[in-house]
């Protein structure tokens, strides 16, 4: 017996509640933008500059005591968070300390790091520092620029490729779906204040890559069906294509999500944000291929005639003047 996530023959009308689904997507996008502007992103040191120190100790983390120990050093904005992870041992207590970029310094001075380490040893004598990372404001500014460039570059390259391979309406549909996915991912990072660093940009681009993958498969089928059923209305052709590829869409998203969930749970806290972004992106990406990209194509309409131009085309309007 086969495991079937999707019945063999489906006939779902993806457009029946088009205004609800499309409206919901539009609403989510708007809300993400609002959340982004109201809460802002919790930028990591990659983008903001500053120092982040990972501490590990057998004693439980007392955030207030850590903070108190660091106050006399006058480091400006200091954030201390305890890190929890199922892969940690029972007596493994981990915290992340983030310190703002110090005035006038590109990277933190060794003395400051020593002072911080000494101060923390006063609280937890067996404390160790598995990682110390420091990024100067100069580099962080550039990192933001390249990150934005990377995302825009990827989107542009994709639009051009889809436009060449399909029709411009498909390109618009695909890029709308991509923007939808990226914006929603940024939105959830702003909402839950998950740390947004360089790796998350990589995740965003992966989402872009994955989502376009999904969208292209549906489009590819739509192109084939448009040639096959020349008389069928566009809505029906798009619906048929989505139904025919639905099983594949769910299978692929399913297997990818299985692998990602394993990584999310067992992969450790260092890459959790990164994996979460990809997993979330795959869910919204699958949704957007089914409910966003096609809607745009439908709204824009598609030239149906792929056959060679009518040889008489040049004389078609010959009689207008008469």
């Amino acid at each position: 017996m086969r495991l079937r996530l999707v019945p063999e023959q489906t006939n779902i009308n993806f457009f029946r509640y088009a205004w609800v689904t499309f409206g919901a997507s539009a609403l989510m996008v708007v809300m993400s933008v609002i959340v982004f502007f109201v809460y802002g992103l919790n930028f990591g040191i990659d983008f903001r500059g500053g120092t982040s120190i990972r501490t590990e100790s057998t004693q439980s983390v007392d955030v207030a005591a850590y903070r108190e120990a660091l106050t006399p050093l006058e480091l400006g904005d200091v954030s201390i968070t305890q890190v929890f992870d199922p892969t940690f041992d029972d007596d493994q207590n981990v915290a992340m300390i983030r310190i703002q970029a110090q005035d006038g310094d590109e990277s933190i001075s060794p003395q400051t790091i020593l002072q911080i380490q000494d101060a923390l040893r006063g609280v937890a004598p067996d404390i160790t520092f598995p990682s110390v990372e420091s990024v100067g404001p100069k580099v962080s500014g550039e990192l933001i620029r390249t990150a934005v460039l990377a995302v825009l570059g990827a989107l542009t390259a994709i639009v051009i490729y889809i436009w060449l391979r399909f029709e411009w309406q498909f390109a618009v549909g695909a890029v709308a779906a991509l923007v939808h996915d990226v914006v929603l991912t940024i939105g959830i990072f702003a909402l839950f204040q998950i740390r947004f660093d360089l790796a998350i940009i990589a995740a965003l681009l992966t989402i872009v890559g994955y989502s376009i993958n999904d969208t292209v498969v549906v489009f590819d089928r739509a192109r084939e069906n448009l040639r096959k059923y020349k008389a069928k209305p566009l809505v029906e052709v798009l619906n048929l294509s989505a139904n025919e590829t639905l099983s594949r869409t769910i299978m692929t998203s399913g297997t990818t999500l299985i692998a990602l969930i394993a990584l999310l749970v067992l992969g450790g806290d260092v890459i959790r944000g990164f994996v979460f972004a990809i997993a979330w992106g795959i869910i919204v990406g699958t949704y957007s291929s089914l409910y966003v990209a096609k809607n745009i194509v439908l709204m824009l309409g598609v030239k149906r005639d792929w056959s060679k131009k009518d040889p008489a085309a040049g004389t078609k309007y010959g009689h207008i003047d008469t």
């Binding site: 490729y161 993958n213 498969v217 992969g267």
Partner: protein, 553 residues
């Protein structure tokens, strides 16, 4: 035709075998690494029974390339430094001033008095007192320019001269500027490499980034601080004649002299002649040594020409002090007791053994042409890296097993074909990563796990298509063939777009992001290969053997 011709089959499986052989060493990482290290030492001329034994841990006929582990997995230090190339510009102009002065002074009757005026560091400003001599001064100054040797062959002058009234402004020309920056960067890279090699850490990465930056990655170092200590000093060593000692830090040193603080005695300053007798560049060797009181010191030896100059100088100046200046601080200012002919000596100061060793390293490696600023530094502990590897491995295994079960349950026998292809795919990724010497980072592991999920996509596309074709009641062979044929355009388009994204990530990203892009990109190539060729080959072998009347996908 469903069946694949024999030559093609052989090609496919040969590729698979080669790929898997390349991946094999990674299964025995520590053993192969020990063996490789031992072999490198034997090649370098060392021999011992222990080394031979280590080398024999891995047979030499097998491939021995390993995937490099990134800093986030192995632990180590990562530093991004910026080279202050403008330092070199300033010192070039500084050195240019005496020439300008001399050539103008020679025609004092035309240009009048020549004085230097303060200006920005990238300009040399010279004031003449006779306005009538302005044109002559301009010509003279311009005559000092040397043609810049560049690859383009266009011989531009190395200086730009402007005259405004009686003010002569000399700047470095564009062509010279870029040639100079290029030289400075190459020299800096070389010296950084030498300094890091001196401390003997394995496989450091020293890479130029952009116009003025250098990326330094040293695996296995406990903290970035160690590297920073090594690179933070320019180590410009000079031996200068002492003019006077003073406690007034604002005292005017007079022309041709400069004021330098003393390291050991705070508040004490030396006035030295600007022109050094000898410099650190003329050192032939430097090593840890001890003075007569058994305190740590740095022993040095000059090369032949410097030894002669130093010998002559000491002979002529017995009884007067000279200063040993390191990075604009006087380390010590001994009095010359007697003629020092051999060109060797020791530098004493309040050194610890460690400081003296470090200074010797720096002196041997040579001075940095310009100061370095640290823009970014990261230290990752080795335990954290090991934790990440363990977690990644576990996650990949659990994810892999789940995906395999899922595929098996969904597509039956065909699913298992896909699973074999998936396993081969993972092997191939590691094989190619080892072959090109790519670096595996933590996001890279995520990229592989993601590939596990996505690698089945091409197979799923084909299998779903075969299912559809079966519905239209064609024979199984025809259905399989059509399935492959018709799924191909979707596979190409979807993977090509993802591959484009991976390329963009690789080009624009750095460090971990780049590591992710590599595994993602390679994963796409290998997964398309395994899905289109390996699975298909498996199916066609099975089909030829079984000749089924009906198939279930």
């Amino acid at each position: 035709m469903l069946s694949i011709s024999y030559p093609k089959q052989i090609m496919i499986w040969l590729t698979v075998v080669v790929g898997l052989m390349l991946a094999l060493p990674n299964g025995f990482y520590n053993r192969v690494e020990t063996s490789n290290d031992a072999r490198a030492l034997i090649d370098a001329g060392q021999t011992s029974a222990a080394l031979e034994e280590d080398a024999a841990l891995w047979p030499s006929f097998l491939p021995s390339n390993l995937v490099n582990l990134g800093l986030d997995l192995r632990g180590g230090a990562h530093l991004l430094v910026e080279v202050a190339v403008q330092d070199v510009h300033a010192s070039f102009l500084e050195g240019f001033w005496p020439q300008v002065r001399d050539v103008l002074a020679a025609e004092r009757n035309v240009v009048g008095f020549v004085t230097r005026e303060e200006g920005p560091a990238n300009e040399l400003r010279v004031r003449i007192s006779e306005a009538a001599g302005a044109n002559r001064a301009f010509e003279l100054a311009r005559g000092l320019g040397r043609p810049v040797t560049s690859f383009t062959g266009a011989a531009a002058s190395n200086i730009d001269v402007r005259i405004n009234g009686t003010l002569l402004t000399i700047t470095i020309s564009e062509a010279e500027m870029s040639a100079m920056n290029e030289r400075t960067m190459l020299q800096t890279l070389e010296i950084i490499r030498r300094r890091i090699d001196e401390v003997g850490t394995r496989e450091p990465t020293i890479q130029r980034q952009g116009a003025e930056r250098v990326l330094v990655q040293v695996p296995g170092v406990g903290s970035a601080q160690e590297i920073k200590d090594l690179l933070g000093t320019t180590a410009q060593l000079t031996f200068n004649p002492v003019v006077a000692r003073t406690t007034n830090e604002n005292e005017s040193p007079g022309t041709g002299n400069f004021l330098v603080p003393s390291v050991d005695e705070p508040g004490l300053f030396y006035i030295l002649e600007r022109r050094p007798v000898v410099t650190g560049e003329q050192l032939e060797n430097a090593q840890l040594d001890f003075d007569q009181n058994n305190r740590p010191a740095v022993g040095f030896r000059f090369n032949t020409s410097a030894a002669r100059i130093f010998g002559d100088y000491t002979l002529a100046n017995v009884g007067s002090p000279f200063a040993i200046v390191l990075d604009n601080e006087v380390i010590s200012a001994p009095t010359i007791q007697s003629h020092i002919p051999g060109g060797s000596g020791i530098i004493t100061g309040n050194f610890t053994v460690e400081e003296a060793t470090n200074l010797a390293v720096l002196l041997r490696a040579g001075a940095l042409p310009a100061e370095l600023t640290f823009l970014e530094e990261r230290t990752i502990g080795p335990e954290l890296g090991q934790d990440s590897i363990d977690a990644g491995r576990l996650a990949a295994m659990v994810g892999g097993v789940l995906v395999i079960l899922f595929m098996g349950l969904s597509y039956g026998l065909f699913g298992w074909f896909a699973n074999i292809a998936l396993a081969i795919n993972l092997g191939l990724i590691f094989g190619v990563l080892s072959l090109v010497g790519a670096t595996l980072t933590l996001p890279g592991i995520a990229g592989i796990v993601l590939t596990v999920g996505m690698a089945v996509d091409a197979n799923v596309l084909v299998f779903e298509r075969i299912r559809e074709e079966l519905k239209t009641a064609k024979g199984p062979a025809r259905a399989i063939e059509l399935g492959y044929e018709r799924a191909l355009s979707a596979i190409t388009d979807s993977n090509f777009t993802t591959f484009m994204v991976a390329t963009i990530l690789f080009t624009l990203g750095s460090g971990p992001v780049r590591g992710f892009a590599i595994t993602l990109g390679l994963g796409i190539i290998t997964s398309v290969f395994t899905a289109i060729f390996v699975t298909r080959s498996l199916i066609s072998i099975w089909f030829a053997y079984r000749r089924p009347k009906t198939i279930e996908v």
